[in-house]
Symmetry: C2
Subunit: 421 residues, 2 copies
């Protein structure tokens, strides 16, 4: 078993001002490669704390650091890693020239930086632990692979746009390739379900074990994310049959809810099903987020004709053609108005499919009959097929609005599948 | 100086499947209280790794753990903390009864759980380190305050909705109150700027220091977030005058860009300025996100009349009244079309203010003349005042779309301020 640790540096990450994207991303990469991650440590730009983090991880096989490679005084990573490795810091003059060449390209934009400031910054980034391998800069900071008496230390820059390609480069280098070869490979699979509580999945896993399905060679993590359940499983290739038995068991018990077995997301599935069709949205409580989600994907302009955000009753009538007396009789939040919104989206945009959403996002506006979280959905096809649903969604305003778009995506998928049959 | 560490437990967090919200939230709370955070550690549900994390933090004054307090076998935190504290685990029968009373309320929803399963889970959650103080459950898991020979350990549940109120409760308890009293209080201030590169801020800080503004008693963190620059500063009350000198220096150099000195966000400022007015949106490349952002706030239905997502040229003409020949002459992405969209939003919704956005979000659709990232904005008032802008935004499709909504919020604020004058 090869074990690794990740050290994320940066006062702004430790302070909670910016979210760390590198720890989770590297964690997934390590899992794919069959390496067990022991810890992620977030440390500020303080020398002693960074050194303590490295010392804490010194029993592991691999340590990856992110950040702290910039030109300013609080960028300490290379130096502290050098100290940890017991390697003196040396100036790599060829590297200095390569970094300077990169900086010169940006010069025009940085008119306020003097030539000396650029050169001083450059020099610091070219001072590296003796014997370290250099990973060429993606931005301006080089990465490093530093052998130590303990773990191999991979030093990567903080911006995810630089770190991610540099990780790929690093896996091609000799020291990391040797380590990865020892780790072997693990399979990683994902089942996604919608419309089933997480507790049911826990019961299913227990029931499968009682029925003799061997789960002990599978590392199973279930997780509720954006209203969907994800069952992520990691296993060694020889446990493939165990995984198939698990997947079959989940399929047998939750076939209606299981919508993805190959890792694809609901957005990807819906985009695939929408090819060669057209769609429009008329939404109230989601206030533009439904159209925003559909147009999130590159190429969505091929099938999304547009959307209407109809918050007021007047706008529902004027733009989506919802009869005023329908709103008066049933209320703005009603299955009837949701259906009229979907039909209106189809009629007004000349679309094949229409989505209508109306609900009480809160925190105000709820009543005993129509509480906060009540949302009416209608997904309609110009040919007459439709799915109408009214659901009580949990959470605060932001969660109700986001969940509503997830529900609509799943209802849309169901309608598209029935049309394809 | 009181120093703290945070241990976030949970395999799904370590695996990168769900993002940790507790570390950043607790980090901000500690900073407000004048406590220096040394490390955040993320550990999986493995006994030895959790114990190693506690041992690593044993030199600190306070350790806060989140998660691992549930009823299942992989919930280990209470037990491992007890072991770390050298305190035997004991069943608190009164606590067991209180948890059972909570569970009975949920029983109707959990028809699949047997009475024994409930009771067994309950019992595990009521077994606590001897001598620990109990923090009453917000959900079903109690929190704990555990004295140890080293740091005081505060054990909190993983769901943010439970952890956050329980932290507030914990700060009222005797052991934590004593610790916080020793920490004193730090002031925390935020300056927000828009439309200035981060490097300019770095130069400004250096220039202020050279001009004799004392910055050494201020802990200043600058951070680029969603296209805005945040300057977060923490200081002891006696450095108040130093902070005022810093703020005055930033104001003098970047008065045009400085939009918030009291921590309020652009969304809050715009919402305040929109009171008693009405607004509508006609957007293309942002595909609903602009309306979605305006309607994000509770109470926004008072001023947002609605929005049009007009992706196709036909929809721009049919819904927003953009003359077809205008699109033909200038192209769908042009200042002229943006202005017509804003005017169309005003006319069609009968709104006082209109926002028009059209641009190339990418990754496809760019040209030499109109590259990916080019976005045209128009913010118009029915009375004739308007602000039109065309900008080249950086980043990928998602970033261009999000940045475009931020730019539009700032242009809208500027127009609203000029109307108020």
């Amino acid at each position: 078993m090869i074990r690794a640790g990740i050290v994320v540096t940066g006062t702004e990450v430790l302070a909670g001002i910016i979210a760390d994207r590198n720890g989770p991303w590297l964690s997934e990469r390590l899992r794919e490669r069959g390496i067990q991650l022991a810890h992620i440590l977030v440390v500020g730009d303080r020398r002693a704390d960074l050194r303590a983090a490295l010392d804490f991880l010194s029993d592991l096989d691999l340590v990856i650091t992110s950040g702290g490679l910039g030109p300013t005084a609080d960028d300490l990573t290379a130096e502290v890693v050098g100290e940890f490795a017991g390697r003196p810091m040396v100036l790599d003059e060829a590297l200095e020239e390569r970094i300077l060449a990169i900086l010169r390209r940006f010069r025009a934009r940085w008119r306020n930086y003097s030539d000396e400031a650029l050169r001083a910054g450059n020099r610091k980034q070219a001072i590296i632990p003796e014997g370290a391998s250099i990973l060429e800069p993606v931005g301006t900071a080089p990465g490093l692979i530093v052998p130590t008496p303990g773990p191999l230390v991979l030093v990567l820059p903080g911006p995810p746009g630089e770190l991610q390609p540099m990780w790929e480069t690093a896996t091609e280098t000799e020291p990391l390739r040797a380590l990865l070869a020892r780790a072997g490979a693990l399979e990683q699979r994902m089942l996604r379900l919608f419309g089933v509580p997480e507790s049911e999945i826990a019961l299913t896993l227990r029931a499968l074990e009682q029925d003799g399905v061997p789960l002990e060679r599978l590392e199973i993590t279930t997780c509720l994310r954006r209203g969907e359940i994800e069952i992520a499983t990691v296993f060694a290739p020889e446990a493939e049959a165990d995984y198939e038995a698990l997947a079959a068991g989940v399929r047998a018990r939750h076939g209606d809810s299981l919508f993805s077995e190959d890792g694809s997301s609901i957005d990807e599935l819906v985009a695939g099903l929408l090819a060669d069709r057209t769609i429009a949205v008329a939404e109230s409580c989601t206030g533009g987020l439904m159209a925003g989600r559909l147009t999130d994907r590159a190429g969505s302009s091929a099938y999304v004709l547009g959307g209407l955000v109809v918050y007021s009753n007047g706008a529902k009538t004027a733009f989506a053609g919802v009869p005023a007396e329908l709103i008066e009789r049933h209320g703005a939040v009603s299955p009837e108005v949701a259906a009229a919104l979907a039909d209106g989206a189809i009629a007004r945009f000349g679309a094949e499919l229409g989505i209508g959403i109306t609900g009480v996002a809160g925190p105000g506006g709820g009543s005993a009959e129509k509480p906060v979280g009540l949302v009416c959905f209608s997904i309609a096809h110009a040919g007459g097929e439709r799915i109408d649903r009214t659901l009580q969604l949990p959470g605060d305003r932001a969660m109700v609005r986001e969940r509503a778009t997830t529900v609509a995506m799943h209802l849309l998928r169901r309608l598209l599948l029935s049309l394809a049959r």
